[in-house]
Symmetry: C2
Subunit: 229 residues, 2 copies
């Protein structure tokens, strides 16, 4: 019985890695879609989110069934509860990738991102994808050092986010308000996506070390202009 | 033993209601702070978020302890797992209220919201607070009809959000880009806050009916301009 149980526990872990893989791919493709104004790719990301949602429902149902049938305690209980949280983070990351894709679709055949911000958005998209790939690796390896590394990568995302806002509030901004609104929301989507990837990695740290540090909180500041908070 | 158990379960419910009360008050005060550019009030909301975070940690610890000690099944298990999710929604709502307050602090002594958007932001703030008050009532009463009513209120929030964006992209917008960025983010914070209040109510529906409807997903569209998605 215990063997079937640990197999099921492992398969929940595999499900999380599969979700991370899908949402990592989604943010990469959504970024391409918005930079190239590629409607077909945008539609594919939007459609693809359903699979991510289904995976989450499936994982949740299995985690709850496991709690009911096996009534795990101590570490095993912590693993199952933490898995529920990770799947929620991953599902939300998928939504954020979908938001990027929906913005691409909304502005098609125009491009939502002006040429002079192309490089910054590309970097944000790539960084988001790398963060999720690392989060997936952390789930597999339970490597605490790698998990902590994600926080540094997230600092890089904050920096990119600030760059974006500096562009926006620069007097030379010439792309009008609608584009400013689009770019503001885009920046927010990438930032929140990164936060969720970091949260996933931190939850693994919690599993390994048992420390529920205060900084597990995703306390995200509004990074508008020179944020003083 | 079962009595102590149900007492503990009830007290988790009370903790959720207390959290909802605090985050409801936080969004009300944050809205006043940003409309009046009231630094002291903004600081109070920012400080106050720690109490909400502490409450969440405490609730989570108790829920997990309950799982470990009592190993509930069926409905009771569902209640505990759902409580974990609701506390996460409420904690996040508190963060969003804090974001509004931080924006007030960042722009002080200026006002982040121009006069012609004052009424719309006030309405969004009041609606957010009402939504959270109803969510709290749903937790207490488990009233499915009231829970479904929250979705209609949320449509109202979407409408307000659209109004905001229409103002922004109107050719007569004269407040500059920085204010447009602030207002875009503010709109997003209120919208997300409302989503979490609705999610809390829907989780109660799930508890009562056992239906994990697809629309439990918080699939939030980016409402930029005339969102077609």
């Amino acid at each position: 019985m215990r063997d079937a149980y640990h197999e099921e526990l492992d398969s929940i872990g595999e499900g999380l890695v599969e979700m991370a893989r899908l949402v990592g791919s989604a943010i990469g493709r959504a970024t391409t879609a918005i930079l190239d104004s590629d409607l077909k790719l945008a539609e594919a990301v939007i459609e693809g989110d359903k699979k991510i949602d289904d995976l989450q429902h499936d994982l949740e149902a299995r985690a709850i069934a496991l709690l009911a049938r096996q009534q795990p305690v101590a570490t095993d209980l912590r693993i199952v509860v933490t898995s529920l949280r990770m799947s929620a983070d991953l599902e939300r990351s998928g939504d954020l990738a979908q938001h990027v894709a929906k913005l691409a679709r909304l502005r098609f055949p125009e491009r939502a991102v002006p040429q002079d911000l192309h490089a910054t958005i590309l970097e944000m998209g790539q960084l988001a994808q790398r963060l999720m790939a690392k989060a997936a690796e952390v789930i597999v390896t339970k490597d605490v050092d790698l998990a902590l590394q994600l926080e540094q990568d997230d600092d890089e995302m904050d920096l990119l986010h600030r760059t974006l806002f500096q562009h926006l509030i620069d007097d030379r901004w010439k792309h009008g308000i609608e584009t400013a609104v689009d770019v503001t929301l885009l920046g927010r989507y990438y930032e929140r996506y990164a936060d969720h990837a970091v949260a996933v990695a931190k939850r693994v740290v919690y599993l390994v070390t048992g420390e529920y540090a205060d900084d597990l909180q995703q306390d995200i500041q509004p990074v508008t202009g020179v944020e003083g908070a």
